[in-house]
Amino acid sequence: MKFAVVVFPGSNCDHDAYHAVKHVLGQDAAFVWHKETSLGGADAVILPGGFAHGDYLRTGAIARFSPVMQAVRRFAAAGGPVLGICNGFQVLLEAGLLPGAMLRNRSVQFQCEHVYVRVEQTDTPFTLACRQGQILRIPIAHGEGNYYAEPAVLEQLERNRQVVFRYTTVAGAVTDDSNPNGSINNIAGICSEGRNVVGLMPHPERACELPLGSADGLVVLESVVKAVTQGAVAATR
């Protein structure tokens, strides 16, 4: 299958995502520059981490106007699997493809460290290969990952089972201590109502090889390969 890795000016985890899908997973991958208007026939799209447009103004605020986002929007509307990682998640929020917004971490600092997240839902293309409740050790690296949604939206997210990843302890307990940034309900990642668009703050692509400290993130990317190859998810073209 083929992945499109979108490159915004200021993206900096684009090569990491590319490396993970191409060299670790052995799938086809191509960079798509943000001025493109097509995704080049990809089966899945990754919006990678980084600092699109320097994260000036607000994370993701300027990137959402990039021409490529029209194509991403169409692809998502047609049911295609879209993964936003960190800055990519922030872009999806600003673009309205996922609900909610990001606030500064409650530490008011950038934080780079490994955290534990619990897989809450296995019926998204990016968690299909996970066990329900599986605990993943994956790094975060962000200054604005403090997820917020208005009470009504939050309630809806929980009711529709759109919370896909939650920060927990190593044993899977949702505690305040295990919440690295103050996210509401310990939310680390969510999906769209259609479940094909997933955004998360932790970086699964950084946790795909054991020498880097963890290979727990691989399952997220393996999931979408499985989903696509089994025909469980596809953009209706």
């Binding site: 900096n12 090569h15 990491d16 530490s107 950038f110 780079c112 460290e113």
Partner: protein
């Protein structure tokens, strides 16, 4: 004629220097020319006080592809690849504005690397501050760390290591040294030179403003009352712009249409034009009215001297302009043609058609003044080197001293700092900060590179020659401890005012020390940076050379880290301790003293130790390694346990010392060339045999395991503490100074 003395003083030029300018030009300089000479002949650009000494450094070796002289050095790492690296200081700007000063320091060193055609893949930093008890120092510290993070994180280069020291002498003069390493194809290294008559000269990047124009060069008839408001010395970094420049420049280099490239760092357009011309044996003619400007009414003087960040100067092959322009357009950057290469070896600057400067490039570079400044051994030395154990009173309880050292900011965990740095981006980081030298793998090969920056100002203060050798040895040893063979080094020399003979003496002895150690350990110096005039109110910082060593790891999968890995492993001490408390963290923390003589260093033995480490790691004989540095053996052993949940029990050989200080010296003395390794019990004999081959003293001193850290000296108990307690002290010490959070974004 007699120049206006005030004008000369403001330009930092002596009468003699002015006289030389007159001779070189055969006429009086214009104001713009005076400004150009002033910055090019400044200490920062000309190295006029240091150059005669720096010539002593060993700069060649079989792996050296590029020694000092270009934007960065380069060494061959096999597979047709080169490691390109350099260290740079941004001390003064970081004192004035910690966040922006540190941030733009990071930006500057990154540009030095990618202008060589290398993709930057790792950053490190070496920092020095006053005491964290001082609220102003805390603000500086937090600002510097946030600035490094702010720039490096957003540009997407991991900060994989560093070091931080504290001493009152740095209160009004913090040190911020930043190291960057990149990877290039060895045969595609790009030079910063201009050549080829008629080749166009391009400007690309941020627009030029009045920022950074040196305060000393500010006043003139043209400037008015509002100068201070109009010309802040502070430069503001724009990492987003730099990221675009980085990607666009690397892409432009692939076109093959580039002749040369240099960033506009210190002395901006002036330095980049005349240095590129001088290196290429050519002249450069530009029209500054074509330079993109951020502010209105800028004079040629201001445009030439501006230090606005994130700007590059390129020489392009004539006829291939469009290829280059197209790449920059893709990245929304606008490359502007501002002049061309000439054959007359002159820097010619026009402003709307009028010539405002016309100077032989050699006058600004190779023929800039050089001084052999007077030197004298400092008066403080004779006394400061005296250390009598008797004068220290009765030795304290080791357990209590241990706790105090673990809480000392110099020794305590730096996680509060490196958690703010993205140390994982690019997915190459095999050894993260806090676990030893930073290690990054080289994708597409089996290899990895180990990186460490080290320097101990106290040792150098007490003995510059020895202290400098110890800095080289420590940086190289840290690299060897993860399995890296040291193959090259860069250095940043932070000193006081070179016009004072004692400072110059410290400087010269330091360079001799670095040279001696680098020769003995076979580590060529491929570049570096000198930062002088680090003083406030006539008080200099501790003389602080910082060494950045690069080590090559042939088999990335074999690396080890500082942390113990397995219950029941044998703990082996390589090297031997002696009664060496001079200049130690113990003396500083417990007695408030910076005295004595630094630990002795036997370079041959150090080299053997490092060979042993590399061999033992490449053959998978040992499972962890950590050198004994600040705080001595006791602190090093504790660090091997932290983060692992594994305690340790050891019994150290005795050390002879006066006045009952034997156990203190054994535990907290900072004797050089010592490494704690852990080894699977069955492999102990292999390790001891390897050590014997190299003539490195080695002995089994204990075992990994349990929930306590227990240390005996010659059989008698000294420290016995729950691991969790020790770890809590160590891991919380720095954060404590910042509660509640005071960092304001």
């Amino acid at each position: 004629m007699t120049p206006d003395p005030l004008l000369l003083q403001q330009h930092g030029l002596t009468r003699g220097e002015y006289q030389r300018i007159l001779e070189m030009l055969g006429r009086e300089p214009t104001l713009t020319e005076l400004g150009i000479f002033s910055v090019m002949w400044s200490e920062h650009c000309s190295y006029k006080s240091s150059r005669v000494h720096l010539r002593k450094l060993p700069t060649t070796g079989r792996r050296v592809l590029q020694g000092p002289g270009e934007n960065a050095g380069a060494v061959d790492i096999g597979d047709g690849l080169a490691a390109v690296f350099k260290i740079e200081s941004h001390n003064h700007p970081s004192f004035i504005e910690p966040y922006q000063g540190a941030a733009t320091g990071v930006g500057g060193i990154i540009r030095d690397i990618f202008t060589m055609g290398a993709r930057p893949i790792a950053l490190l930093n070496s920092l020095r501050f006053g005491s964290l008890d001082d609220p102003h120092v805390r603000r500086t510290f937090a600002g510097v760390v946030a600035g490094i993070a702010g720039y490096g994180n957003s540009i997407g280069i991991p900060t994989v290591g560093g070091e931080i020291g504290f001493d009152e002498s740095y209160t009004g003069n913090p040190l911020v040294n930043v190291f960057c390493l990149g990877i290039a194809r060895a045969d595609e290294i790009v030079k910063a030179s201009a050549s080829g008559e008629g080749n166009p000269v391009y400007y690309v990047g941020a627009r030029t403003g009045r920022d950074g124009i040196h305060g000393a060069t500010m006043a003139s008839a043209e400037f008015d009352d509002k100068s201070a408001e109009k010309r802040p010395a502070v430069q503001v970094g724009d990492p987003f712009m730099e990221k675009l420049l980085l990607e666009a420049c690397l892409e432009v280099m692939k076109t093959g249409a580039l002749v040369g490239i240099q960033d506009m760092g210190a002395a901006g357009l002036t330095c980049s034009t005349c240095e590129m011309g001088a290196r290429g044996g050519a002249g450069v003619a530009i029209d500054v009215s074509l330079v993109p400007q951020r502010e209105t009414g800028m004079t040629p003087y201001e445009i030439m001297l501006s230090e606005s960040q994130e700007r590059m100067l390129l020489v392009v092959t004539r006829g291939r302009e469009q290829e280059v322009e197209r790449v920059f357009e893709k990245w929304d950057l606008h490359a502007v043609r501002i002049g061309e290469v000439t054959t007359d070896n002159r820097l010619r600057v026009q402003h709307h058609g009028e010539v405002v400067a016309d100077i032989p490039t050699a006058a600004l570079t190779d023929e800039a003044p050089l001084y052999e400044r007077p030197m004298a051994e400092p008066a403080y030395l004779a006394d400061a080197r005296q250390l009598s154990m008797q004068s220290l009173g009765r030795p304290g309880r080791p357990q209590e001293i241990f706790g105090r050292l673990l809480a000392s900011p110099a020794i305590a965990s730096k996680q509060w700092v490196y958690r703010q740095y993205d140390h994982m981006v690019r997915t190459n980081t095999l050894v993260v900060p806090g676990m030893g030298a930073g290690v990054v793998r080289v994708k597409g090969t089996q290899r990895a590179l180990a990186l460490s920056v080290d320097g101990n100002g106290r040792f150098v203060y007490l003995d510059p020659f020895l202290g400098a050798q110890l800095a080289v040895a420590e940086a190289a040893r840290n690299v060897a401890c993860v399995g890296g063979q040291p193959i090259g080094a860069t250095n940043c020399l932070n000193f006081g005012n070179p016009e004072r003979p004692e400072i110059m003496w410290q400087f010269a002895r330091t360079v001799e020390g670095i040279s001696a150690a680098c020769r003995a350990l076979d580590i060529p110096i491929t570049g570096g940076n000198v930062s002088l005039y680090n003083e406030t109110d006539g008080r200099a910082v501790l003389p602080t050379p910082v060494l950045g060593v690069v080590g090559l790891i042939e088999e990335a999968s074999r690396i080890v880290r500082r942390a113990f890995t397995s219950q029941g492993d044998a703990i082996v001490l390589l090297g031997t301790g002696a009664a060496e408390l001079g200049g130690s963290e113990y003396l500083k923390v417990v007695h408030g003293l910076v005295r004595g003589v630094p630990p002795a260093l036997d370079l041959a033995r150090e080299a053997a130790l490092q060979r042993l480490l590399v061999a033992a790691i490449s053959r998978a004989v040992i499972r962890s390694a950590h050198d004994c540095a600040d705080g001595g053996f006791a602190v090093a052993l504790a660090e091997c346990c932290f983060g692992t949940g594994l305690g340790a029990a050891v019994d150290l050989p005795p050390v002879e010392a006066d006045a009952g200080f034997g156990p203190i010296a054994a535990l907290f003395g900072e004797s050089a060339s010592r490494v704690i390794v852990s080894v699977e019990p069955q492999r102990t004999a292999d390790l001891l045999a390897l050590a014997a081959d190299e003539g490195v003293p080695a002995g089994v001193i204990g075992t990994v395991g349990g929930e306590r850290v227990r240390m005996r000296v010659a059989g008698s108990g000294a420290i016995d503490e729950p691991l969790a307690d020790a770890e809590r002290i160590w891991s919380q010490a720095i954060g404590r100074y910042f509660e509640p959070q005071r960092a304001i974004a």
